[in-house]
């Protein structure tokens, strides 16, 4: 068996380098902060239309990420989308009348939920529902409205 000691050292180096690379990928390349989100609370919000919102989309307040969308459901009675927002426990003082809007990051970017704080003393807790919501802007609807109003103007003249 060739120099057993140097073989061991090389294998040790190899395994250490491999683990270090995995560690670097986990820490430096990926958003490990996702894991810390597990401690937190869920609130629901109902939207008429969620556009292109997806599970894991970010939830932000004042542009700062405070949580993520953890579940998207559909209420067959009211025909609304029920979105569950998972908010990190670090942000547990959000007022009860916080409103939720669906925004788009940039012109073609992904959609996210933006929260606007209200003024109530009561705070959001596990299971609370956000009552004030605004649906996603769907580009086709917007264009449709624009065309209709243009058409109405033309008839009035």
């Amino acid at each position: 068996m060739m120099h057993s000691r140097s073989v061991e050292i090389w294998v040790g180096l190899f395994v250490a380098a491999g683990l270090a690379a995995l560690f670097m990928l986990a820490m430096q390349v990926s958003n490990l902060s996702m894991l810390n989100d597990d401690a937190g609370y869920d609130v629901t919000a109902r939207f008429e239309n969620i556009g292109g919102l997806k599970v894991r989309s970010p939830v932000t307040m004042a542009g700062v990420r405070v949580g993520r969308v953890s579940h998207i459901g559909f209420d067959p009675q009211s025909f609304e989308a029920v979105v569950t927002l998972h908010i990190s426990s670090a942000y547990d003082g959000l007022p009860g009348d916080t409103s939720a809007n669906i925004f788009t990051a940039g012109l073609l970017g992904e959609q996210y939920v933006g929260l606007e704080p209200g003024g109530e003393e009561e705070v959001l807790r596990q299971g609370s529902e956000i009552m004030l919501t605004q649906s996603a802007l769907v580009l086709e609807q917007l264009i449709g409205q624009f065309l209709f109003s243009k058409g109405a103007e033309g008839e009035a003249k």
């Binding site: 395994v15 380098a17 491999g18 995995l22 390349v29």
Partner: protein, 260 residues
């Protein structure tokens, strides 16, 4: 006519026979793993020849693949004014696809062919029969350590490949082309997910490691014990394992990333 039919039947039977032998060997390899753990020295030796000796080619090609990705990604993204996403492009391409796949292809060429040649020669020079005569199970003594070493080395090599590639992309994108350094890392961290991207990449490389080492060991064990047979077995290892890696990659990608 009848002869042609007989030929076809013989080919098909031969194919299935090899497939069956391969699976039986796989089963015995798995059974042999506990006895490897009792003798870690054998495993260490194989980790050296399978893993450490593949390190150089992985490091160099990882760095160059990362640099090419940085350059190509930059040239495309700059048209859209989106060169800040270069980090995301490089990292996702490497972690999801190129890391595991290119590492597996290089691994098949570097380590797989060596495994086949080694085992094939052991068979041709009747070392394996000699072991059996001494009541030493060649599967436990020779093949299982190599199998386990391949299984352990592949994900480590793939991780090294991806990490070095990201650094290569950084070197070209930030160092040479002037992408903002903070944007490179922050966009990457915002878009690459630990579970969806990195774990799935590791799972891919584990699967590829098993498949490549399995094919290499099987071809070596199944080689016709002549010098020509060993050389054909070595060729078959590289061809078959490359095809298996590329085919499996599609299936794994469809399973992992298909639903979003």
């Amino acid at each position: 006519m009848l002869n042609a039919l007989q030929q076809l039947g013989r080919t098909a039977l031969g194919f299935f026979e090899r497939l069956g032998r391969g699976h039986i060997l796989f089963y015995y390899l798995l059974l042999g793993i506990p006895s490897v753990l009792v003798r870690p020295r054998l495993l260490l030796q194989q980790l050296f020849s399978v893993g450490v000796l593949s390190l150089l080619i992985i490091l160099v090609s990882g760095f160059f693949v990362g640099m090419v990705l940085g350059l190509q990604g930059y040239n495309t993204l700059v048209d859209f004014g989106a060169e800040e996403s270069l980090g995301t492009v490089v990292a996702l391409t490497l972690v999801r696809e190129l890391g595991p796949v290119v590492t597996a292809l290089l691994f098949a060429g570097r380590a797989g062919s060596a495994l086949t040649a080694e085992i094939g020669l052991m068979k041709a020079t009747e070392q394996l029969s000699g072991m059996e005569m001494m009541a030493v199970d060649p599967i436990k003594r020779v093949m299982a350590p190599r199998f386990l070493a391949g299984f352990i080395s592949m994900p480590l090599l793939a991780a090294i490949f991806s990490a070095v590639g990201v650094i290569g992309g950084y070197f070209v994108g930030v160092g040479l082309l002037g992408v903002d350094e903070g944007a490179y890392w922050s966009q990457m961290q915002a878009k690459v997910d630990l579970h969806d991207d990195i774990y799935n990449g590791v799972i891919k490389s584990l699967v590829f490691g098993v498949v490549v080492t399995w094919i290499a060991i099987f071809e070596g064990n199944d080689a016709v014990p002549t010098s020509e047979g060993v050389s054909r077995a070595t060729t078959r290892t590289v061809v078959h394992s490359s095809l298996a890696v590329l085919g499996l990659d599609f299936i794994l990608t469809a399973l992992m990333f298909g639903d979003n």
